[in-house]
């Protein structure tokens, strides 16, 4: 098996009384996209900063492509690209000069430097912004510039802390598109967010963190079937007439739970994943006089699954887990 791109073993970090990271261990395979999920204050940023050699752990070991972060920070820094959740840009410096400065600071000289800047500007679509002052860009443009900067030295591993935070839907689509291209090129991407569904779409692997501990790891599907809600299914039922009829019907059927009222009916939960059971219950509804206009199965969303998972493991439920605004299909 190949060496993990990121390996975190038994990591602890405290700030005074606060235990920000509490015995976290995980590996990220090379060339994968790994999502790091948790509410604000869960310990994501602290963990990422330690991985990026910007902070030090009280205990534990972190390696990037086999190189120890604490013992070989210079080597590690040449292997990683770091994109923080917030960074300021310089006044009176154009986008082109900004990237040129960082290319110089990374040790590129002469034509090679110009080539690197050009490649990155083409990739992040920054050429049209070349003469714009870097501190006068929109949030989306700034994130593209940040991504460009973090790619200047062609790093093996890209660490992105909440890159989509504060972006409008269009900018989020653009950023996701760029991340997908990088993933296809074989870069390892470690990306954090508190927007679960967004990461679910683009990550091969998800890590869930709460109060400094890793509470679950796997893909999005494994989270959906994990915990107390495994073996149940959700259905959206639209009825002609008042929703109370559906609620009353659900109350009389022991295997059905009415979850919430919708404009045209409601959501119900059936204590089985078997489609035949659903078909049987649908037939019963019609038989019992409910006028069903729509009946379809719903995917369990990640936010619900995450909260269920925390409840199942007796972890305090964080607040808030944010749902993103709806994105266009095929983004």
């Amino acid at each position: 098996m190949s060496e993990p791109a990121i390996s975190v073993q038994n990591l602890y970090r405290s700030f005074g009384e606060l235990q920000a990271v509490n015995g976290v261990s995980f590996d990220v395979a090379p060339g994968s996209v790994c999502g790091f999920i948790g509410a604000n204050g869960a310990g994501k940023t602290t963990t990422m900063r330690i991985i990026a050699s910007l902070d030090y752990p009280n205990e534990g070991r972190v390696t990037i492509c086999g190189h120890d972060v604490m013992n070989k920070p210079a080597k590690v820094r040449s292997l990683i690209g770091w994109m923080p959740d917030h960074f300021g840009n310089y006044s009176h410096v154009t986008v082109l000069e900004y990237l040129d400065f960082y290319a110089r600071a990374l040790g590129y000289r002469g034509k090679e430097r110009q080539m690197r800047v050009q490649e990155v500007m083409e990739f992040a679509d920054l050429l049209p912004l070349a003469d714009r002052f870097s501190n006068k860009l929109s949030k989306g443009m700034t994130q593209r510039l940040g991504l460009g900067r973090s790619l200047l030295h062609d790093p093996e591993v890209l660490i992105m802390d909440e890159p989509a935070a504060g972006l409008d839907p269009k900018a989020r689509v653009e950023l996701k598109h760029l991340i997908r291209i990088l993933a296809e090129e074989g870069k390892t991407i470690f990306i954090s967010s508190h927007i679960l569904s967004e990461l679910g779409e683009m990550c091969d692997h998800l890590l869930f963190m709460n109060e400094g501990r890793l509470v679950h790891q796997g893909d999005a599907e494994s989270l959906r079937v994990h915990g107390k809600q495994a073996g149940v299914s959700l259905y959206r039922v639209h009825v002609v007439g008042p929703a109370e009829e559906l609620a009353n019907w659900a109350a009389m059927n022991p295997n059905v739970e009415f979850l919430e009222t919708l404009r045209l009916g409601g959501r119900i939960e059936i204590d089985s994943a078997d489609p035949e059971k659903a078909a049987y219950l649908l037939a019963r509804m019609i038989q019992d006089g409910l006028k069903i206009s729509e009946f379809h199965r719903e995917e369990r969303n990640l936010e619900d699954a995450f909260i269920d998972l925390l409840e199942a493991t007796n972890q305090p439920v964080p607040n808030p887990i944010v749902s993103p605004p709806q994105l266009p299909i095929n983004s």
Binding site: A52, S53, L54, Y56, R77, I80, W82, P84, H86, F87, G88, N89, Y90, S91, H92, V93, L96, E97, D100, F101, Y102, R104, A105, L106, G107, R109, G110, K111, R113, Q114, M115, V117, Q118, M121, L127, A130, D131, R149
Partner: protein, 509 residues
């Protein structure tokens, strides 16, 4: 055929014309200077100052040409020096206060730390860029000095030496303000313009338009050896203070795992040694030695008293590797106020010894060497003892206050400086009170003698013994308390040293 089998050379990718414009600065120049110059030359502060300077100098020149006076040349000189001094000694240093502070505010330093730029290159690059901009301003005033030559009465060498000195002082002041800009405290950075603008304006106006301009020109003719030595020692001290503040800034923003204290303290001690040797070799200037030691101690003290004791293996390891001697040296060079306190105690003893040795009356010394007879040296006077004890008390007392009352403060440097400023203000009030009171003043001075700075009032008193006694007593109390606190820090260090030594032993095995 053979030609066709040769592999075709891949075409070189074309560089976009927009990007090829990036060759405006050579690769040999530090990236930080390139970035800072690109930024700095576009700011309104620079362009505005540059244009205003040109306009005023232009009009002054025109006015002087039209005036029918025998003193026209001198007038032009004064005007050029006045304007250039304001730019170089006030405006440009003031820009330094924002140098690193903006990077701290915008969270850009962290990203920079992931590049190959060290914190030293970042801070010194910022300073070098500001100095380069001052050099541009200087270059812009040169044509006016050339024109002034035609009005006659110009002492070419003196005036060139004077302008070079102003430029050098500007470099030092800019270094100090850039060093200050590494502090996160807005209050502390606000203190710089509050002090620099009024005092700078007063000093420049009185020097250029007062009688001292002619005197300065005389000094810069370098006729007197004593004056030359004093002048160059002062320049070295200014340069040192500038360097130290820059390096102090480096230490404030550097990663905890880096030890910048060793370099700073070692350079300070070596430079102090060199200056002392030069002074010892020049008999008339020897008396400056004591003031040189105290000046070095004050500069070092401002830094070491505000350093956080850092206990990480990477700092301790190089010292532990060198065995017992290394650990002993580490007691003076580990980052932190505790090692700094020890260093200051040593400097205190050195200051007393130097004072005792150098304050031999020069006529006695000559008699001793030429005649071989016995004469007793005059040694330290009461005034000098009070000066030494008072200065060290002023350095150490705020440290004790910081360590006891505000040790959790994030920016100990800001706290320390604020206590110093407060002490200065209190001393001023005590001084004013004793000045206006009739008879009861002395008792009040004794009551307030615990305030760092009040010892200066005893200097004007006839009864300096009381001043020496009280200030020494307070210095002793402060030193003992700090010693107790420092011992705790050293015990932590000793534990870490042991752990690191065990690690090193394991690696060897």
């Amino acid at each position: 055929m053979s030609e066709s089998t040769l592999p075709a050379k891949p075409p070189e990718p074309e560089i976009d014309p927009i990007i090829s414009g990036l060759a405006d600065f050579s690769d040999r120049i530090s990236p930080m200077i390139v970035k800072e110059l690109r930024q700095g030359l576009r700011t309104r502060t620079f362009t505005g100052t540059f244009l205003v300077l040109q306009v005023i100098l232009g009009f002054s020149m025109l006015g002087a040409m039209m005036a029918d006076s025998s003193n026209t040349g001198q007038m032009i000189s004064s005007m050029v020096f006045f304007l250039f001094s304001i730019v170089a000694l006030i405006l440009q240093p003031l820009r330094g206060t924002a140098a690193v502070a903006t990077e701290l505010k915008d969270d850009t330093l962290e990203i920079l730390s992931l590049t190959r730029l060290s914190t030293v290159r970042i801070v010194f690059g910022k300073w070098a860029s500001l100095v380069s901009q001052t050099a541009l301003m200087l270059a812009a005033t040169v044509p006016y000095l050339v024109m002034r030559y035609f009005f006659g009465g110009m002492q070419l060498f003196s005036e060139l030496a004077l302008i070079a000195t102003v430029f050098f002082l500007s470099m030092c002041l800019t270094a100090v303000t850039v060093g200050f800009s590494c502090s996160r405290s807005i209050l502390l950075r606000a203190l710089v313009p509050l002090l620099l603008i009024p005092f700078g304006l007063m000093a420049i106006s009185s020097t250029v338009f007062g009688f001292q301009f002619g005197l300065l020109q005389e000094v810069f003719s370098f006729q007197d050896k004593d004056v030359v030595i004093t002048f160059f020692v002062s320049l070295v001290l200014c340069g040192y203070v500038g360097y130290y503040f820059l390096d102090m800034g480096v230490g404030r923003i550097a990663a905890m795992a880096e030890n910048h204290s060793f370099r700073k303290r070692l350079i300070s001690l070596v430079l102090m040694g060199v200056v002392l040797v030069i002074l010892f070799l020049n008999d008339p200037a020897q008396k400056m030695s004591l003031f040189v030691v105290v000046a070095f101690a004050c500069t070092i003290g401002l830094d070491v008293c505000t350093e956080v004791p850092v206990c990480v293996p990477s700092v301790v390891r190089p010292f532990v590797k060198r065995g017992k001697f290394g650990r002993m040296v580490g007691r003076l060079f580990y980052p932190g106020w505790h090692s700094g306190f020890l260093l200051l105690l040593i400097l205190f003893v050195v200051a007393l010894a130097i004072g005792e040795v150098t304050y031999v009356d020069s006529s006695y010394r000559r008699g001793y060497t030429s005649l071989g007879g016995h004469t007793s040296p005059t040694g330290l006077t009461n005034e000098l003892v009070l000066f030494i004890v008072g200065m060290f008390y002023t350095i150490l007392a705020p440290l004790l206050i910081v360590r006891i009352f505000i040790k959790k403060m994030k920016d100990a440097f800001a706290g320390y400086v604020m206590i110093l400023v407060l002490s200065g203000l209190l001393t001023l009030l005590v001084s004013l009170f004793t000045g206006i009171s009739s008879g009861g003043g002395d008792g009040f001075v004794i009551l307030t003698s615990w305030i760092p700075g009040v010892w200066m009032i005893f200097m004007d008193n006839s009864d300096k013994e009381i001043g020496i006694f009280l200030t020494s007593l307070f210095l002793a109390i402060v030193s003992v308390l700090l010693g107790v606190l420092a011992a705790r820090e050293f015990s932590n260090t000793a534990r870490l040293e042991k752990a690191v030594a065990d690690d090193l032993a394991q690696v060897k095995e």
